[in-house]
């Protein structure tokens, strides 16, 4: 389960495109599609490169898991059932240090709601969802 009290994250359902990504998460690794023609990372996974359009030039590339907090809000009235019991809860956008054009969502486990240090460095962790599938999360570096 999540380390955030009351949170029941919906579990990602892998498909043909995303299975390698979610399998890597279960191994506590973050892998992104990289277009070998453009040397461009993609996240979320895409069927083709959003620069050159190629669909057969992707490789899965493990990234370091370092990022920074871009902006955040605090969810106080969620429509999503699994989040209503965890409100208030942070919702932050994390940019990846290796390529700040790539961003991730985070609830920032360990950071009290509303006390988010915008611009601070974060590191990759993993959290469990409702069926045990791990998802990537981010934690402020102390």
């Amino acid at each position: 389960m999540s380390t955030i009290p009351g949170l029941q994250r919906p579990a990602p359902v892998p498909n043909e495109l995303t299975q390698p990504f979610w399998d890597a998460c279960n191994e506590r690794r973050l892998v992104l599609q990289n277009c070998t023609l453009c040397e461009r990372l993609h996240y979320p996974p895409a069927p083709r490169c959003n620069l050159c359009g190629s669909s057969d030039s992707f490789e899965w590339k493990e990234v370091q898991g370092k990022g920074h907090i871009d902006v955040y809000m605090v969810i106080r009235d969620s429509r999503i059932r699994g989040f209503r019991s965890a409100q208030p809860i942070n919702f932050a956008v994390i940019t990846l240090d290796e390529d700040p054009g790539i961003n991730f969502l985070s609830n920032l486990p360990g950071t009290p709601p509303g006390e988010v240090p915008v611009g601070a460095p974060v590191e990759l962790i993993f959290e469990e969802t409702s069926n045990g599938q791990l998802v990537h999360e981010w934690q402020v570096v102390n």
Binding site: Q8, R9, P10, A11, P12, V13, P14, N15, T18, W22, Y43, P44, N50, D70, V71, Y72, M73, V74, I75, R76, D77, S78, R79, I80, R81, G82, F83, P88, I89, F91, V93, G101, I102, N103, F104, L105, S106, N107, G114, V118, T129, S130, N131, V135
Partner: protein, 431 residues
């Protein structure tokens, strides 16, 4: 997201619109508006309200039922749930068609339209749908199109009845958003972009208060609007600043209120429009955006480029420029994204980062900068059609207490969000 199709004008470099000034809007009708359908009064169901709006639009144009040869609508009524498993009613309310949507076939039967040759019940939401209608008439798919856009709101808390939000699984693209609490729709990503905007330009959420208050004021001048009908009082700055927080810093007053209603419009050729009851409102161009950001969340840079591109497409196709637009009604479903349109189109000279300062000036309808003279969706309820109907009324000179005192020769209106939208340029003159 708007699908990319052949009729769209969603690329730069397409030149002047081939039907510029040859298509006109000649009729408009708005049904009654309630917060929700009570599940009892069938004349207030989706079908009932659609029927009402369509008949009003046809009468407004001075046309007969036999003049209608095109029917265009969108299935995107935002009902979020079906009427079933509750019992249906007697025909014609014996299926979802008529209760939570109103298709072209349903309205053809209900109105007894005999001469329809073009049916489209699968148009996108109203922004791009208005462009589709103009293109259909210009291309000769029909001569006189009846176009309607119902918004449906059944009982229950909005969003909480959406099956996706109650699912313990996150399939497809939602696998990368739902597990962190992201809600589909325009709220979250546009709030992220708004926060980036505030960070970049040194602005804050309270800078939206003057816009919110003025929209409510304009909405109260719109007799059929939700607030004029049901909650006829003005908001104060204190109300806004102390509004119930939804997703901090977004408050309830930043969100347009879901309502149950329908609006309808009549598009026809400029030639046919000459002899009709109303002064024609000519269409000079339509343009769409259907992009998306590179990663999970679109960014401020991406949204600004999206609206800048939308503006370039609109100027290119219409032959007009920023200084030529008199009436401007961009979408305000969440107040957090409206400034992107204002700045991207540079209406009244507003540049990037200047919208909040502009809101603090005189934006009343009787003032020099009557922004969103419609009252928008924030001021009238989430019907979206008001962006277009106010534009038509302003150009006709029939907006009543909302009639602007500045020049009203041209109008630009559209929705929904910076990266996914459709806009229409209208004019009193075809040239």
């Amino acid at each position: 997201m708007v699908s990319d199709t052949g009729w769209m004008r969603n690329r730069e470099g397409m030149g002047v619109w081939e039907h510029r000034g040859k298509v006109a809007i000649v009729g408009w009708g708005q049904s009654h508006m309630d917060r929700r359908w009570d599940g009892v009064a069938l004349d207030r169901s989706c079908g009932g309200l659609t029927r009402e709006a369509c008949l009003k639009a046809i009468a407004d144009a001075g046309l007969s039922l036999d003049d209608i040869d095109g029917l265009i609508t969108s299935p995107e009524t935002r009902a979020e749930q079906t009427w079933a498993p509750r019992p249906y009613f007697d025909p014609p309310y014996d299926t979802e068609d008529g209760l939570t949507k109103a298709s072209a076939e349903w309205i053809q039967r209900e109105l007894g339209l005999k001469n329809v040759k073009y049916f489209n019940s699968d148009a996108p939401y109203i922004g791009p749908m208005m462009g589709l209608a103009a293109q259909a008439v210009g291309d000769g798919l029909c001569e006189t199109a009846l176009v309607w856009y119902p918004m449906v709101n059944l009982e229950g808390r909005y969003g909480h009845n959406n099956p996706q939000n109650n699912n313990q699984e996150a399939p497809g693209a939602t696998a990368f958003t739902l597990p962190w609490g992201y809600q589909n729709g325009a709220m979250f990503n546009n709030l992220v972009v708004f926060l980036q905007y505030c960070q970049k330009y040194g602005k804050s959420h309270d800078g939206l208060a003057p816009l919110c208050l003025n929209l409510r004021r304009n909405g109260l001048l719109t007799p059929w609007g939700y607030y004029a009908l049901h909650e006829p009082y003005q908001l104060t700055t204190e109300d806004y600043l102390n509004g119930r927080v939804i997703e901090e810093p977004l408050v309830i007053y930043d969100c347009d209120r879901p309502v149950n209603t329908c609006a309808a419009f009549i598009f026809t050729t400029a030639e046919r429009a000459k002899d009709l009851r109303q002064k024609p409102v000519y269409v000079l161009n339509h343009a769409q955006n259907n992009g998306r950001g590179r990663s999970t969340m679109a960014t401020l840079d991406e949204h600004q480029e999206a609206v800048a591109s939308l503006a370039r497409k609109m100027w290119e196709g219409s032959g007009l420029g920023p200084a030529d637009v008199d009436i401007f009604n961009p979408y305000d479903g969440y107040l957090t994204f409206t400034q992107q349109f204002l700045e991207g189109f540079q209406w009244h000279g507003v540049k990037w980062g200047e919208a909040h300062d502009f809101y603090a000036e005189d934006i009343r309808v009787e003032g020099p900068h009557p922004f969103l003279s419609s009252g928008g969706n924030n001021g009238t309820g989430r019907n979206r059609a008001v962006l277009f109907s106010d534009s038509i009324e302003q150009l006709r000179g029939t907006a009543g207490a909302r009639q602007v005192t500045v020049r009203a020769e041209t109008a630009l209106a559209g929705c929904n969000t910076p990266d996914s939208c459709g806009f229409l340029m209208m004019s009193k003159n075809p040239d």
